[in-house]
């Protein structure tokens, strides 16, 4: 028996984000918020953003979930904070592509910061939902600012 492959998925950085999530809790000024539900485990993730002049001034999340979903949400807030809405949206798409095992450009990968380690999720297809939940919520929130 071996947990080598598990190590691949749950690298130290992932476990660290899950244990000590960044930007967890509601922010004071919220322009958009979206709650998404993962029907397979029953977990909810809520994403809060504050957008001014097409720029994400603040972003945070709330809710329970597994290591993957907590870590992914935490990493996401690090990555998206301060970016423009369109930049953030393309980062979401890059993340979805990455977790599905699709090839993405090296600079796109870099732009995903810590979250790029979740690329190994392509080998754990049943967990992709866990990792992408927060990103889907963010995407919906960001799209909401465009209307």
């Amino acid at each position: 028996m071996s947990l080598n492959k598990l190590n691949l998925l749950y690298r130290a950085v992932v476990l660290d984000h899950a244990q000590h999530p960044h930007h967890k809790g509601e922010i004071s000024q919220v322009t958009q918020k979206v709650t998404l539900h993962n029907p397979s485990c029953g977990d909810d993730i809520q994403v809060f953003i504050c957008v001014a002049q097409n720029q994400i001034s603040e972003i945070s999340f709330e809710g329970q979930g597994c290591t993957i979903s907590q870590a992914s949400a935490s990493m996401m807030t690090d990555v998206l904070q301060g970016n423009s809405v369109s930049q953030a949206l393309s980062q979401c798409e890059a993340f979805f592509a990455l977790t599905m095992g699709k090839a993405i450009a090296e600079n796109q990968k870099e732009a995903l910061g810590d979250a790029a380690v979740l690329g190994s999720l392509a080998e754990f297809p049943m967990r992709i939902k866990c990792a992408t939940l927060a990103w889907h919520a963010a995407k919906m929130a960001l799209e909401g600012t465009l209307k």
Binding site: S2, L6, R127, C130
Partner: protein, 412 residues
């Protein structure tokens, strides 16, 4: 059919495969039981020798297929001790069986203001059909809660039964808690109030001998795939006079007696419920699965699974930070044990175990209201079967400890 208990694992080649480079340890038997070679062989033989559509031809091949199809009905009736083979309706699954009762019988007997009594431990398949019926009919949906030891509160059941209760729907065995409810007694209580009782036996049928006449249930549903038959075949048992009163809800093919442009009349039950070409191969497989279980003997199966649980449960109870849901006694766990590890999400536990070749279920197990009652979002469930071994129980416990260590250690 040749089955030897000593070597029965050979009947299930899948048990020899590897998962993530580890030997498969399949502990999701409550989701679906693996299918023995004898069943697969019987189905293949049927298609290679006697396949034809049923109830439609006067020719020899059609006759052979029809006879095989109807003989399994007798076999199912005998297996659950129904009075009559005509009380056996073939469906796709437990879910379809329960939907059929709700849409046809429920629609017939439930009126505005009537009550439908469920238990809080129902699988969604025995819950949403009633919830939707109640909504359509403006009927009242009531749930029997759990006691403090997380079994069905029989006292509350009695209190919630009223003369307005038209239908009682309950699982014989919970797919989460693993407890078997005292169906016979509950049926007696329900009948005193003239309520009809619909029993979901999905988690019972492969583990204990069933006697629908002794239980005196009005309806009983189960799935073939949870007892060694292929997917796509299920059974609804219903008392003759109730099936007779029920209108069909799907139309076409051989369920029809006579058709004009504007009218149609139906065949008698059970055929009026079997519209279109049925899953004939699935029925043949169901017959072979019953043969298989009968050869093993239901009493041997129950005893074997009990032995495994007697070994497993105390070992799990020793693991620090592990919470078992449902009762804490071996006697009340029908092959199923559901738990959580403190501070580790069930999905992480399941992924960790999967890396070690151990396949368990994580999630809400299609029982979200029960999860809410237990105060959790999701849990891990291990469910065993007669082909599992004591050594596998040990390996499972060891793997669980490794996973626990992995997450606890890494996060220090």
């Amino acid at each position: 059919m040749t089955i030897k208990r000593e070597t029965l694992r050979k009947d299930f080649p899948i048990l020899d495969r590897k998962v993530n480079e580890e030997p498969l340890l399949y502990l999701d038997n409550a989701a679906t039981l693996q299918t023995p070679n004898q069943v697969l062989k019987k189905i293949t033989e049927f298609y290679q020798k006697s396949h034809a559509n049923v109830h439609r031809g006067v020719y020899t091949l059609a006759q052979e297929a029809t006879q095989a199809y109807e003989q399994v009905r007798e076999q199912v009736a005998a297996f659950i001790h129904a009075a009559n083979a005509h009380e056996i309706v073939y469906t796709r699954s437990t879910t379809e069986s329960l939907n059929l009762v709700a849409s046809s019988f429920g629609e017939l007997v439930v009126q505005e203001g009537d009550e439908i009594l469920l238990t809080i431990m129902e699988h969604h398949s025995n819950l949403i059909p009633w919830q939707q019926l109640a909504k359509r009919k403006k009927a009242i949906l009531k749930y029997v809660p759990l006691t403090v030891d997380q079994t069905l509160d029989v006292h509350a059941f009695k209190q919630q039964l009223t003369e307005k209760t038209k239908i009682v729907a309950l699982a014989q065995t919970s797919n989460v808690l693993g407890v078997t409810n005292p169906v016979k007694k509950l049926v007696e209580l329900a009948h005193q109030q003239h309520a009809y009782v619909v029993v979901d036996a999905a988690q019972t049928v492969a583990h204990h001998a069933l006697d629908v006449q002794d239980l005196n249930v009005d309806f009983l549903a189960f799935s073939g795939h949870k007892m060694g038959a292929p997917t796509g075949i299920g059974v609804l048992y219903g008392k003759s006079e109730l099936l007779k009163a029920m209108p069909p809800i799907q139309f076409g093919g051989e369920m029809i007696e006579n058709v004009t442009k504007t009218t149609a009349t139906w065949q008698p039950a059970p055929w009026k419920f079997e519209a279109g070409t049925p899953n004939i191969g699935g029925v043949i497989g169901l017959g072979a699965a019953i043969d298989y279980l009968n050869h093993l003997e239901m009493s041997w199966i129950a005893a074997t699974e009990k032995k495994l649980m007697m070994h497993l449960l105390p070992e799990l109870q020793k693991i620090e930070g592990l919470t078992i849901y449902g009762p804490q006694t071996v006697e009340r766990h029908e092959g199923i044990v559901t738990f959580n590890l403190a501070h580790i999400h069930p999905h992480d536990v399941a992924t960790g175990l999967d890396m070690l070749g151990v396949e368990v279920r994580a999630g809400h197990h299609c029982a979200q209201p029960l999860m809410a009652a237990l105060g959790v979002e999701s849990t891990v469930r291990a469910s065993l079967s007669f082909y599992n071994s004591i050594a596998e129980m040990d390996r499972f416990v060891y793997a669980l400890k490794m996973v626990k260590e992995f997450f606890n250690h890494e996060s220090e």
